[in-house]
Symmetry: C2
Subunit: 302 residues, 2 copies
Amino acid sequence: MSFVGVDWGTSSLRAYLIDDTGAILDQRSGRDGISKTSGQWEQTLLRYIGDWVDTGVHDVVLSGMITSRQGWVETPYVSLPADAMRIAEEMVHRRVAGLDLWFAPGLAFERDASTVDVIRGEETQILGQLAEDSSGTSLIILPGSHSKWVLIDGGTVTWFSTFLTGELFNAIAEHTLLRTTLSDKSSKKAFVEGVTLGSASETGEGGILHKLFSLRVRALDNPNGAVSKDLLAGLILGTEIREATQQLARLPSAYVIGNSVLARQYITAMETSGLAVELGNEDAAAAGLFKLFQDRKVPSGL
Amino acid sequence: MSFVGVDWGTSSLRAYLIDDTGAILDQRSGRDGISKTSGQWEQTLLRYIGDWVDTGVHDVVLSGMITSRQGWVETPYVSLPADAMRIAEEMVHRRVAGLDLWFAPGLAFERDASTVDVIRGEETQILGQLAEDSSGTSLIILPGSHSKWVLIDGGTVTWFSTFLTGELFNAIAEHTLLRTTLSDKSSKKAFVEGVTLGSASETGEGGILHKLFSLRVRALDNPNGAVSKDLLAGLILGTEIREATQQLARLPSAYVIGNSVLARQYITAMETSGLAVELGNEDAAAAGLFKLFQDRKVPSGL
């Protein structure tokens, strides 16, 4: 029996029609993220998947910010360590308009009482990548506005950390003095130089607050008074890599999820830092939604 | 004989009438920074100091962005190590409308071929603070959008480092998701907590990219979904302190220049990090301009 998997984030919605082998039969996406849809949950969902429902599909697994306090149904955070079975069991079930809806929980990682990190949405991509190889230890990197590094051990999520990388890049590039210093001219050389600077140790080159100012000085030295924006992108990404790898005792085989320009930049940045990494499953979210569907706990009476 | 000292930056202009003992006889300031005044240099200056000139004053020492490529007369950077005499000697002299104008040079610190840091304007504050105590080793901290830490050894500037602290705070507070997370409610407790988080080691709490995201998570835990903006201010300032102190083999007696809210926040932040620090000379810029005037090299023929 087919089901529908929905990755419903802040700014977009993506729906997959998935058969009982996990194959994606159909998919569609749009800009109806929760920030735009507030309150119109059922109508919006049916606008995307109504014709699939008409063919008899009635199970829908939803993940992403749709399960947050601002979304349709708030779900709990599952504390680490967590495997697919535990995450699936914590899904919140609702019956709406004849559909069985399953809302995925987020993940919470408490290092200690005062330091908590959270994931909401990316757990499906993690589970999807896990489905490909759940035997050993691996690292999954999910690039984005809030980039996540996730450690997996024998099919269980044991550690993760979030970095404000994408948002910080935009804020600096557009809203500091560096704005007038950065040119839009793309440059892989500048990107690699930035990664090298960002990942350099703080005791050598100083920390990020100083390195950011150093971009300004570099620009003053250039005839046109500018440096490529890719130098800043590399610097921020290199900083993320340095911060993340400092937290890890060793680096297992690493996967970067997605096939976006950003994901490929991560590959370049990781390789610049001497770290081996592969592109992960591009359809990881759909594969993870399928895993959640398979492992769901059906309430008695259904 | 009195002279005029002018601290002319990007967004403001401050002029001092100073007598031959270094006492400030009069001062005035306004928003006629170089970004607003472009090209109208002489008229603007005379608007501020014309009545002083009418009483017979004819020497004017100028520092700040007025000596940059975008300013009136571009001056060189003096490389470290540099003492007051060397800085004064590198001033560029111009005779304009019967006035003798002396444009102060900036300072450049080359750690190595690829890593250069620069100062333009703050050198007067540094010289002014030096005038108070130039015997031993001390650290001068100049808070601001681009905060500077400057090391002085026996009257000579031997090291400095710039941090994009103020600008980064504004960019993050106003142009990332944290915007919706930060309340304007002032809180010294939150500030101190932020400093502690920011100055904590990267191997323990992670780096700044992760700590920034952690503010978001803290807010989710609060009933009103927000944390004080002072938590972010403390985090960024604590990061600066950690970065800067990592670069220094030891911490000599430290002075924070100015008497602004920001300068007092630095004192609190330094003390939170267990570092002793005093407020420095509030009129350091005027004292430094006086020192430059005393040490100027008068061209032959004047």
